[in-house]
């Protein structure tokens, strides 16, 4: 009798396993299509706006504020949510603003609470637009013909206007200034941005990869920047590790990674004692450790790799 019960239990277990393995995503389906289309427009009071203390005198809220967390972020920005989620976003608040006299020329503010200045810089840098104009209104900031993007403390802020005009540009800058007057900055949270050599650096090209820089799983907190040497371009990189020993280990691990992916180590000329250089199908990779820093050059011709490598090495000698 006992064996019979065990057999029945095993059969039930097998059935449950079989059903579970055929996952039907429809069981998670919310049968409502999203925000009800017939829902009347929400009423709101400008005083309730989370942005009210940042508003210049000539701007007023045009819509009710919206708030999204990590679970609902894609309801607002769809496929771009992944970028923010990987950088630790906590919350997004949005609201449309306009001059009461000209509501057609509206702008929308996207206020991302990234939980920390490094996270905010990460999403700022990786999305930086080409041909943008740098601004000094915040920790990091730039503008384009219809938009303004900046980092202040743990916040990453986008202001996107429905039209490109001098008036909206002035309003966006006024908002950014008011915001920065009310929220403390934290530019020193990303000192590596200053450790990359400024000579030959392409303006606005500094990016922070929080994880897996260049597809290498151990390259976290990796700062990269574009460099121009005449016609040649290269990418310099830098990451600071907790100890000199860990920096040395990371150089060794990255070297192994390059070799595993087809890289061939070559003898260095000018950089022989402090760097390793690899030929990766015609493009060169250079890497070295100096103190707690691991730095190098990514995807360059050999001369440029050694030239930029030397610049990095000297710079890190001045900024141990």
């Amino acid at each position: 009798m006992g064996i019979l019960i065990l057999i029945v239990l095993v059969l039930i277990g097998a059935w449950v396993f079989s059903r579970q393995s055929r996952f039907n995503p429809a069981i998670l389906a919310d049968t409502t299509p999203g925000p009800a289309a017939s829902e009347p427009a929400k009423t709101f009071s400008p005083a309730d706006s989370p942005l009210s203390k940042f508003l210049p005198e000539n701007l007023a809220p045009l819509s009710a504020p919206e708030t999204f967390n990590a679970d609902t972020l894609s309801d607002k920005i769809d496929g771009r949510a992944e970028l923010y989620l990987s950088a630790g976003v906590r919350e997004l608040q949005c609201q449309r603003l306009a001059r009461p006299s000209d509501p057609e020329s509206w702008m929308e503010v996207y206020l991302y609470d990234m939980g920390g200045a490094r996270n905010a810089f990460a999403v700022f840098g990786i999305q930086r637009r080409d041909e943008a104009e740098d601004l000094d209104v915040a920790d990091f900031a730039y503008k384009t013909p219809n938009a303004l993007f900046f980092v202040r403390g743990r916040y990453y802020v986008e202001i996107v206007a429905a039209s490109a005009s001098g008036e909206t540009a002035a309003d966006m800058e006024a908002f950014a200034k008011r915001f920065c007057e009310n929220v403390p900055g934290d530019r020193q949270a990303v000192p590596e941005a200053e450790m990359l050599p400024p000579d030959n650096r392409i303006p606005g090209s500094v990016i922070l990869y929080m994880k897996e820089g260049f597809g290498f799983e151990k390259f976290d907190n990796l700062f990269v920047a574009g460099y121009q040497f005449g016609e040649a371009q290269a990418t310099g990189f830098l990451t600071v590790r907790p100890s000199t020993g860990e920096a040395t280990e990371l150089v060794e691990a990255y070297s192994k990674h390059l070799i595993a992916n087809g890289g061939v180590e070559e003898q260095t000329a000018g950089a022989d004692s402090w760097a390793r250089i690899f030929n990766l199908f015609g493009a060169y990779e250079l890497v070295f450790a100096r103190g707690k820093c691991v730095a190098g050059v990514h995807e360059a011709d050999r001369d440029t790799a050694e030239q930029l490598g030397s610049l990095l090495y000297e710079r890190l000698g001045r900024n141990p």
Partner: protein
């Protein structure tokens, strides 16, 4: 002494009569409410297997590529090259335009189908004899805001089309036979079930998750429910959408392409004038050509190869001998 022992003959008869009356009333009520026909064989909540096929076999494999900066002019040129809208829309047709109204953003950001394209396609359909043209999408953002701020609602209505917002009662579970993802999933299908033609209208955009968002990815806007779970296998779901949705015509607007920071963009500097309008009947081929406007190839977008392998079209658009026109 018990209650039964106290019951008189008169009480017994009275109780018996009351019980008989109650039974008779219940029987009468049951007879009154009985539906001898029973429920209909298919209710609105029952899953739909597949969607109507809106394609026209005689028009299969057509592709026209018009170049020029004016999207109305390039659209007309592309449609003329395909023989005119009359080849696709007949008198009395009820036409659905599946546009991209995904975001409550202004037209200048090119995150949504341009209102000028919407209004011109509506006009062409009505001129071809359509009895009704309806514009629909299930946006990512608030539906009313998305349709209004994108300029699509105004353009559609001004040109004579109706706007269908994603009301809950217009959704129905749909299953793609053999599908891995689309199994009893809520679909914005009721408007399609009442239509005779379906035209897809999409902009050319980069997409942080899918690589690009064009015609095939735009069918995503027919899904309801917690559809962002599909982002875990975006290529798989787009392939299944390509299998499921068989349009009459697709129009891919590459007048301005969103090269970076898609699908929402936000800055004019994310955009590039690519001055191209693609019209045709093969959604996979349209997307394969559209990829070139984003400085990609079809090989860079895995869902294109998957859709082609599933029989939804061809990734090698040159095999269709596309008609190229300058407008």
């Amino acid at each position: 002494m018990s209650e039964a022992e106290n019951t008189t003959r008169r009480d017994f008869l009275l109780r018996g009569a009351k019980a008989a009356a109650a039974i008779a009333a219940a029987g009468f009520a049951a007879r009154t409410f009985r539906d001898p026909a029973g429920p209909p064989a298919v209710s609105r909540s029952e899953p739909l297997v597949g969607l109507p096929d809106f394609s026209i076999p005689e028009q299969a494999g057509k592709l026209a590529i018009a170049t020029g900066a004016n999207r109305v002019r390039t659209l007309r040129a592309a449609m003329d090259a395909l023989g005119g809208m009359g080849k696709f829309v007949e008198r009395g047709d009820r036409v659905i335009l599946k546009i991209n109204a995904g975001f409550s953003t202004p037209p200048i950001l090119s995150a949504t189908t341009h209102p000028d394209l919407v209004s011109e396609v509506v006009r062409l359909c009505l001129a071809a004899g359509a009895s009704a043209v309806m514009v629909m999408d299930n946006p990512v953002n608030d539906p009313v805001s998305s349709f209004e701020l994108s300029g699509i609602a105004g353009a559609a209505r001004a040109a004579g089309a109706a706007v269908i917002l994603p009301q809950a009662n217009l959704f129905r579970p749909v299953t793609l036979p053999g599908g891995e993802f689309i199994r009893e999933w809520p679909f914005f299908s009721l408007p399609l079930e009442g239509a005779t033609k379906l035209i897809g209208l999409a902009p050319v955009k980069s997409h942080n998750r899918a690589g690009a968002s064009m015609i095939l990815k735009n069918w995503y806007g027919l899904l309801g429910g917690r559809r962002n779970v599909f982002h875990q296998d975006i290529n798989g779901i787009v392939k299944e959408l390509a299998q499921l949705v068989k349009p009459t015509l697709v129009i891919l607007d590459g007048t301005t392409a969103m090269m970076t920071n898609g699908p929402t963009g936000g800055s004019l500097s994310d955009l590039k004038p690519t001055n191209t309008m693609i019209a045709g009947t093969d959604p996979v081929a349209a997307d394969a050509f559209g990829a070139t406007l984003l400085d990609m190839s079809a090989d860079d977008l895995p869902y294109i190869a998957k859709a082609a392998a599933a029989g939804a079209g061809t990734a090698n658009y040159e095999l269709l001998n596309p008609i190229r026109i300058e407008a």
